[in-house]
């Protein structure tokens, strides 16, 4: 029976047999493999990962620890998708109960496309968090460029025009950009590495017209200086 269950068509049943024979590490492996192949249903992938994790924990040899860290990362990623605001899902015609599995890049795209949530900084913070899940060996994705794009899009959420009070710092503090930095700082993240380099950021084409806006450049420098003084 074990051999029969290894054949390709029936692979998705093999873990049931392995649980029956108390072979928890094999069940853990089989379920993990099935979860990797699952792309059509997010909730199904989640359950396969969860079962794999439990089987790994139920097995006697402690070699599954590495896998379990990996599983937790995958489950984290699933949580990010589950937490997408309902109106964003709706806009894209996604049913929260029957979603396919989205890639980290797609999730980033969705998070930074959300225009109507109250706390925009949370979306951008999540988008930046999601960068860690992108496969760095994938030649088609430039993670660094994507990071700058996210920051640029955050900048574009504000007009960067000095308000009546004429206090540059007050204007800066009100921006999504600054709020993301504060959020990260509150979580204990080292902003020196987290924030994009200002010169590179100013050269980022995603900024569009703001790129050549003197007033904006000035305000952004004020912002960086303020962050250096208060949040480093």
């Amino acid at each position: 029976l074990g051999q029969f269950l290894q054949s390709k068509d029936i692979k998705y049943l093999s873990w049931l047999h392995q649980l029956q024979t108390s072979d928890y590490s094999q069940a853990h492996e089989s379920l993990l493999e099935l979860s990797r192949m699952e792309t059509t249903s997010l909730s199904k992938k989640k359950t396969l990962l969860s079962l794999s994790k439990l089987a790994g924990l139920a097995s006697d040899d402690g070699e599954e620890d590495v896998n379990i860290t990996g599983i937790n990362e995958e489950l984290d990623l699933i949580t990010h998708q589950e937490q997408l605001p309902a109106h964003v899902l709706h806009q894209r015609g996604l049913d929260p109960d029957e979603m396919e599995v989205l890639s980290p890049e797609q999730l980033i795209e969705l998070y930074i496309s959300d225009m109507s949530s109250e706390e925009q900084e949370l979306n951008f913070k999540k988008a930046l968090d999601l960068l860690q899940y992108i496969d760095r060996n994938d030649p088609n994705i430039d993670v660094e460029a994507l990071r700058y794009t996210i920051w640029a899009k955050a900048i574009l959420r504000n007009s960067w025009a000095v308000d009546q009070s004429g206090e540059p710092i007050e204007t800066v503090k009100d921006t999504v950009f600054f709020k993301v930095a504060t959020l990260a700082y509150d979580e204990g993240i080292d902003l020196r590495e987290y924030l994009p380099g200002i010169e590179l950021l100013l050269r980022c084409e995603d900024l569009g017209l703001l790129q050549d806006d003197r007033n904006f450049q000035y305000l952004l420098r004020v912002g960086y200086e303020h962050i250096q003084q208060t949040l480093y």
Partner: protein, 278 residues
Amino acid sequence: IDQEIDTTITQEDRKKIDAIDWLVFDQSQRSEAMRQANAVMRSFIAIKKLHAAKEVFHKLPADSIDVIVKTWQYQTGSADLPPEEANSVREYLCHRAYLNAMDSFNDLFNQYHHTKPTKPTLAEAASFTEKVAHEQHMKRYQQELDRWRHHLDIQTKTTKGMIYNVLLFADGGWMVDQKQVVSPDTNREHQMGLLRQLVLPGLCFLLHKILHTSGHYDECLKIADLVASEQHGLYKVFRKDELQQLLRLLRDSSLSNLNKNLDPLGYPSQMDQQPVNL
């Protein structure tokens, strides 16, 4: 499933239960009464004396949280309880959630086993009149059975919700303090940790039993999501053999899914396959 409940209440138990009476007379002592009641309930739940725990619970008047907050407000002018009191109130709510869930389960259990209508029988050599009467009986039986099923469905839903309330207890979990205390009562914290280990796996098994018996096999598999989640950390209170037992139960539900021509997790099957009996 080890859910046998000890219903005996000894003289010694009775003393502990009745002692709470002395503390609830004076409203200003209500927080001490709650602390004591919590401690006694912990010790009863630990030995599965749920009847006794419930009696203790009912010794505290229902408005006790309100009384404690008001007393504190009156003494200090602040509505925020100090950490010890806040933890004690939270623990009281944990006890309430658990006792309610177990009550609800017992109701469900009794309803399932004791109120199920019995099918009328017909002797082989029945006369015409007997056959006609039997037809009538069968009709009434069918109606009663439908009604019984309906009530059972409702009770199942209620019980399920109450068990989830315990398993998903807000802000950190069941029997987990929220507030840091300057000089923690290590004995109390130890007992609360033990109660988590004692109660939560059992409740997961109970949840599975309810869902499986009522044919919700797909939801059974979701118990895996719940237990494996890092946010709730339930898997940490499972011993290895308990995890194995849980996986065996989930496997049973998977097989039931297969027999309904679904995939093991209860989704429409991608392949046209015959029901499998492993």
